[in-house]
Amino acid sequence: MKKNPIIKITHLSKKIKKKIVLDNISLEILSGEVIGLIGPNGAGKTMLINTLLGLITPDFGTISFFGKEIQHNLSYIHQRTNLASGYSRLQEQLTVMQNLALFAGLYSTPHPQKKIKQLLHFFQLEKYINSQTKVMFLSSGEQTRLIICKSLLNDPDILFLDEPTASLDPLMKKIVIHYIYKLSKNNKKTIIFASHDLSEVKYLCDKVIFIKNGKITKIIITKNKMQKENLSKFY
């Protein structure tokens, strides 16, 4: 029996300032899948994620999450999704705890303090639990890890990751990737992972989507090691 997709995208197109940024994208993502989005700069990876999250309205096409259309169910969908983007930051004038408490509140996280402390410990930010240090004084890598903590506060069913490891050192990169791996395998979370780094994508993803000029050029299912190795040919 065919499984219902958790995300269904049909003929998604978008033009911004006469430039086609998304070109007739159709896609079905199943629950628990880890999808890699790969493509050069300006290919449309971030654009696709922003459109899926409702920050951009498409010109044509439809998007549905959990069988519900995005247009009329945005708040419901946002409750069950989250994003860690290498391009965003938290409010720099607030402390780590104040920032995370805000988002725990926005997502109505149960037992927020416990959840926040748990995440800060895992991502080695525990020194900020009782600290008054403002986010603006955190290093770039620490800020990235903080954004990842934020994205996990609501225990999302679907997690979007937009180049989340861009400013991390190799060790922290490994820790983060391993955490995402565990999250997908143990908790059956659906993860959409946009990256330039093919090795990360190879390690994490069940399916790799190649995007160029806003168009899907290839979808490769990477169930076994050989298929993963072959990915390099397309990049």
């Binding site: 951009i56 309205t57 708040s75 419901y76 946002h78 409010q91 988002f103 926005l106």
Partner: protein, 266 residues
């Protein structure tokens, strides 16, 4: 000292200024609007120097200044909060949370209200300590004018925020200046009759002018006067219309920002 380096740095400062429409508008229009306000205030004071005593004039200026701060800060604080999130690159994090537009507006209004109460208290206490001006001695009902000023200030703040959402941070200058650009027509320090015909007509469409027409009379008389309810009621209706329009405008601009892709870049 290298004149070549000074030349290049000067050229750089002028180029960044030339490419910043907001700074150009501020530098040109702000002094012009200041001139309007203080020019008309002077005309009003000159024509009334025999009929009003200096003490009540001073009380009037201090009193209306405190109330003008409500409009100014209500507008500025709403827009400034949004700007901070844009600069922090935190706005998209908030917008992808389950929060709704109406909840954002409500939270902005509440937070600005807290700030205005603090600012007002500082002004009330310092005007008492510095100028013996006691606002609480004035026996009147401030509810009507306060409602008009709050609603009008919030409306402007919500409109500015909507414009920044849609057109980007280059319109940040409005966050600091929109209320000031409307100040000459708000008739804060002088009555409508002081204004020339065209400006006088414009002032009828600015809700704060109704509040200040009333407040000035109270501060000048330093005693209870009967509320001119028709005039204040009309001002309240206009400010409510402004407020409702600003919410519609915000929702429209949010949709437009999503359509044009500007929201995702913040």
């Amino acid at each position: 000292m290298s004149f070549i380096r000074i030349y290049h740095l000067t050229k750089y400062y002028l180029l960044t200024f030339r490419n910043n429409i907001g700074r150009i508008i501020l530098i040109v229009f702000w002094p012009f609007f200041d001139l309007l306000i203080w020019g008309y205030t002077t005309i009003y004071l000159q024509t009334n120097q025999n009929s009003e005593n200096i003490q009540s004039m001073v009380a009037m200026i201090i009193g209306v200044f405190i109330f003008w701060t409500i409009v100014l800060k209500a507008q500025q604080e709403i827009a400034a909060q949004f700007n901070e999130d844009i600069y922090s690159k935190n706005l998209s994090n908030i917008l992808i949370s389950p929060i709704k537009n109406s909840e954002i507006i409500f939270a902005l209004i509440l937070s600005s209200m807290v700030k205005i109460i603090i600012i007002s208290l500082v002004l009330i206490i310092s005007s008492y300590m510095l100028y013996s001006f006691n606002l609480f001695k004035i026996n009147t009902n401030f509810l009507y004018p306060l409602s008009i000023l709050y609603l009008f200030g919030w409306s402007l703040g919500i409109m500015v925020t909507a414009i920044i959402l849609r057109f980007g941070i280059k319109f940040e200058f409005l966050a600091w200046s929109l209320a000031l650009f409307l100040q000459p027509f708000s008739c804060v320090f002088y009555p409508r009759t002081t204004l020339p015909y065209i400006f006088n007509i414009i002032s009828w469409f600015i809700p704060s002018s109704y509040a200040f027409e009333y407040l000035r009379k109270i501060f000048l008389n330093n005693s209870y006067i009967q509320i001119d309810s028709t005039n204040l009621f009309f001002g309240l209706i206009i400010s409510l219309l402004y407020f409702l329009s600003s919410i519609i405008f915000f929702n429209y601009m949010m949709k437009s920002a999503k359509k044009n892709g500007t929201l995702a870049r913040m």
